[in-house]
């Protein structure tokens, strides 16, 4: 389990950010208040204000966590025995498991930071998202196409995200890992073609099953 996911809940900062993220997922961003967040985190208003300049500052911090977690999971899986694409395929299972275990942060990653946040917070989200798009677009190196259409990385990642959003909006966080093969296929087919994307989807499905048996 990577350490970088949420700020550790044992620290005060971690608890405060988690409280904010939970309330954001429950009621939306506009409803957030220092009073409510502090209460949820089990601390005084003053304590919260000592930790963060504003709700917005805490929201910016919250948006930094998921990117680190995703990258750590991916980087952890790089190995001499696997291509980068295979590492991604296996990483998807790990990422979805982490989402299931952290539903509030999951909501932030796919919905809150994207469409339910003020500009400054959204910018931080967007720049993390662009980084992930750039990681995915490394797969162009294996593409049969001689010239690359624009924004394929954005679309490929967006394809997977749309499926995840449907599940989390319905509260079906525990159903996420089983979607790994679909998400692997959708995010990789533009770069690697159908046959290879299907093979990688199957790889992720096997990894999902092996992990469950372990």
């Amino acid at each position: 389990m990577p350490k970088g996911w949420a700020l550790p809940a044992e620290t005060e900062r971690g608890r405060a950010v988690l409280a904010l993220v939970e309330l954001w997922a429950e009621n939306g961003y506009a409803g957030l208040s220092v009073t409510e967040i502090a209460a949820r985190a089990g601390m005084s208003r003053e304590r919260f204000e000592g930790l963060f300049d504003s709700v917005e500052a805490a929201a910016v911090t919250a948006n930094e966590a998921p990117l680190a977690a995703v990258v750590e999971i991916v980087a952890d899986l790089y190995s001499a025995d696997r291509s980068e694409a295979e590492s991604y395929a296996v990483a998807v299972v790990g990422i979805l498991r982490l989402m299931t275990a952290n539903p509030a942060y999951c909501y932030l990653t796919f919905i809150g930071g994207r469409q339910m946040a003020p500009s400054r917070v959204h910018e931080v989200f967007e720049s993390g998202h662009q980084f992930l798009v750039a990681m995915l677009e490394r797969l162009w190196a294996a593409s049969p196409l001689s010239d690359q259409p624009a924004r394929v990385g954005v679309a490929a990642l967006g394809a997977a995200e749309a499926v995840v959003r449907r599940e989390i909006v319905a509260g079906r966080y525990e159903a996420l890992p089983a979607l790994a093969p679909d998400l692997v296929y959708g995010s990789m087919v533009p770069f690697l073609g159908q046959a290879e994307a299907m093979r990688l989807a199957e790889l992720s499905r096997r990894h999902l099953e092996e992990d469950l048996e372990a």
Partner: protein, 201 residues
């Protein structure tokens, strides 16, 4: 309130949301623009939220209808996808404020509003099912392929609307088409369709 008045009320409320955001959106101003009295409004809607949600339903119905309207049943599926997409992109470019309301202002209100946005995307899924016939591999494609394709288009469209560049969307039809078709037919075939589409821009 007759149906024409209701439509005007919903339209005006959506414009209020688009122009001023949720907290500043005013029922009074929208009523005044639509020519609807306080009594008539109260008889039809419990509050601002109920009106806004109904307005969003009307807007999303229009978006889906527009995307499917010009599709000629006789044409091959990739052609129909192209026509539908073209129509959708033109609509967004022509009304960037509504596009913003559709993708940011309304969904951002709170989680229950966001659900409507997710439902909107699901409404495009049935249009994609026929794409499976174009697959170049024997094995059955993954179950979520239709929503993956819709999500691909949404990601690009959302990015441009969000950045205030909705007017560029029609020019981006070929690359959006590529990403929508690619899960069904692979990158080479999708690139061919993309090239055909760029020739007629």
């Amino acid at each position: 309130m007759d149906s024409q008045q209701r439509d005007r009320m919903l339209q005006a409320m959506m414009e209020e949301l688009a122009d001023r955001g949720y907290s500043e959106a005013s029922v009074e101003r929208a009523r005044s623009v639509a020519g609807v009295s306080e009594t008539d409004f109260a008889a039809e809607f419990a509050d601002k939220d109920e009106c806004l949600f109904a307005a969003y339903d009307q807007l999303t119905d229009q978006v889906v209808a527009r995307a499917s309207a010009e599709c000629d049943r006789g044409e091959p599926w990739p052609e129909r996808v192209r026509t539908g997409l073209e129509s959708l992109l033109r609509g967004m470019a022509e009304q960037p404020g509504m596009a913003m309301a559709l993708t940011r202002a309304f969904p951002g209100i709170r989680p229950s509003a966001y659900e409507r946005y997710v439902e909107l995307l699901s409404r495009f899924v049935p249009f994609m099912i026929e794409g499976r016939e174009y697959s170049e591999v024997d094995e059955e494609l993954p179950g979520e392929v239709e929503l993956l394709a819709v999500g691909a288009a949404e990601a690009i469209i959302f990015g441009e609307v969000d950045a205030g560049r909705a007017e560029r969307l029609p020019k981006m039809l070929p690359e959006i088409l590529f990403s929508v078709l690619v899960p069904f037919m692979g990158p080479e075939r999708a690139a061919e369709e993309m090239r055909t589409a760029s020739m007629s821009i």
